[in-house]
Amino acid sequence: MPVTETLGQATIDGLAYLGDLAILMGRSLHAIIVAPFQGQRLRGQRVVHQAMSAGVGAIPILSLISFFIGVIMALQSAYELRKLGAIALVARAVAISITRELAPLITAIVVIGRSGSAFAAEIGSMKVNEEIDALETMALDPIQFLVAPKLLAMLLMLPCLTTWADFMGILGGATFGVSVAGFTLGSYIQATLHSIAFRDIVTGLIKSVMFGAVITAVGCQEGLSTGLGAEQVGRSTTSAVVKSIFLVVAVDLVFTLLFYFTTSR
Amino acid sequence: MPLSITKRQNGAATIVDVTGEITLFNAPDLRKVLMELLKVEKARVIVNMTNSAYIDSAGVACLVEALKVARESKLPFAIFGLNRVAKEVFELTRLIHVFDVYGSEEEALRAAQQAPSSAAV
């Protein structure tokens, strides 16, 4: 009996949390899409600032990681394909796994570590320091002022970062292919272009937009619900990272299922 | 009361008659008029505040900007007709002695005419 009770409570809490995220998303989207037509400025400068730190700032580390992942994918698939005498299919295996799955996921995880946690920490410490209250009493909506610019920046930057990760991952695969598997650079590129459909890239990018929304919503929600005291900021940051990773993977699963059942037949 | 700003020539000076309250929300209008007079027409400006019941800090800030421009082009710039409340605002911001404040239009005009003119000609 207590087990089912706990389970039930957890489910209710989980759904309530998703509801909170949805409300936060709705209000930020309203601030981005509708409010500018009601004469309220969207804070362009803040969007650019966020896009620089969340997007451009992530490029070095993301490049390195996705390059390595590209090499690893090539190695892993070559290991099996060699046995089948089909080592020429390495390019194809790398291209598909990177564009459909790994680039969006790796990008999301890098961005969670860099920006999702930073959102929670920034907003959380503003909360603790009464800055959020100060914003409200200045008739500035914290969601419009803080969350909306972050959301817009993330919705724009994640697809860009993912595209870049696609490129770096394939470059990693090519490095292996050219040096070990007997490809020339030209033939590797040829093989890659043959094997990926436009759809693979687009589904990856759609996913990445969803991931951007999830990461922003969770980071900001955790920040806004920070309790009293400085140690609560740390707690918010940790739980923003954990919850974002979980939700990103969950969203990934749902979308992959959706793509699978809508296109496989 | 909405702000209305009119200009008229009186002798060597341009009198800017301000009617209504100068606030955060309409101060830019006053600033525009003053800046144009000072920068484009190089006029000797006298601001008539007799019919302005209220000026807030933003209005004062605009006048400070105008005064700075006038000083830079060596043009006289004066204010007259401050009521008690407006004087308090100028005193609060410690600006009452920075501006040339006069009691009446004649006084302000006399001072403006005496002032050496380098830019007007």
């Binding site: - | 909405p2 929300f25 933003a58 900007e65 308090e88």
Partner: protein
């Protein structure tokens, strides 16, 4: 936006209209009721000092007045509008007429002092950048912080943060000012400067001012009326003269700065000290 002339009737001029009306206010933090049945009026153009012991609920009262705490009972009207029932948009319009300095300053750590002070102007007005710049310097000058525009809040001392917060509260020349202990932690000279500023603001703009303070001398100097809060109840309210003449023991104790009588260590004392211990 409503025409300015109609605002004047209740706001700008000290014409005796009611700026703030509080009735039967109760505020809870969770189960714990912090304010019990608070009621008082603040006339437009009046300066009210809220006094009371530490933890008596002054900050909570101030936060309720500006709509940051949701009352569990009673009602608050600001300029005739009932806070419980106004739309977010009306609330925003109302708050544009507020200036608030928090007990802890609440300066935005990611902005410079100048940007902090400029923020409401940048967001709510179409003033030119140079006008805003001048205005920010004027305000910092008024609180004795000229030259600190480009400092980060973290680089300021406690008292300087407090003054920067006051400057920020003043930028829009608000109709109603809420100060939570503006002179706590300031040296006597600067504290006197803040008192002087409050008096000037009242004269120049006819502002309605609500000040929470511990400084009795300052309260007697600036306040038209005083509210004395004790453990979440108002125990006295009146002009400084009326307060001086108030015979209630608790009021006398507060105003004459008499410490609580020393309770001799009884049985209960030992129990309190050793409560929940496993010895």
């Amino acid at each position: 936006m409503r025409p300015r002339s109609s605002r004047d009737e209740s706001g700008r001029q000290a014409d005796g209209g009611i700026a703030i009306r509080v009735r039967n206010l109760r505020v809870n933090y969770g189960e714990h009721e912090v304010l019990h049945n608070i009621g008082f009026d603040v006339k437009a153009g009046e300066t009210i000092a809220i006094l009371g012991g530490s933890g008596s609920g002054k900050t909570t009262l101030l936060r309720s007045l500006v709509g940051l705490e949701r009352p569990s009972g009673g009602a608050i009207w600001i300029r005739g509008q009932d806070l419980c029932c106004i739309s977010p948009r009306e609330m925003a319009e109302l708050r544009k007429k507020f200036g608030i300095s928090f007990q802890g300053g609440a300066l935005f750590g990611s902005m410079t002092v100048g940007e902090n002070v400029a923020l409401p102007l940048r967001e709510h007005t179409r003033l030119d950048d140079s006008t805003i710049e001048v205005l920010v310097r004027l305000k910092l000058e008024e609180v004795g912080l000229s030259g600190y525009e480009d400092y980060n809040p973290a680089q300021l001392s406690g008292g300087m943060k407090k003054r920067a917060a006051i400057a920020r509260a003043l930028t829009m020349d608000p109709e109603i000012l809420f100060f939570d202990e503006p002179s706590a932690g300031l040296d006597p000279i600067i504290a006197a400067g803040i008192d002087d500023l409050i008096l000037k603001l009242k004269r120049a703009f006819g502002m309605t001012i609500v000040v929470v303070t511990h400084e009795l001398a300052s309260a007697f100097l600036i306040a038209d009326r005083m509210v004395l809060v004790d453990k979440g109840n108002i125990i006295a309210i009146g002009t400084p003269e009326e307060m001086k003449a108030n015979p209630q023991p608790r009021v006398r104790q507060f105003l004459d700065r008499v410490p609580d009588p020393e309770v001799s260590a009884d049985e209960g004392f030992l129990d309190r000290l050793t409560q929940n211990l496993r010895l």
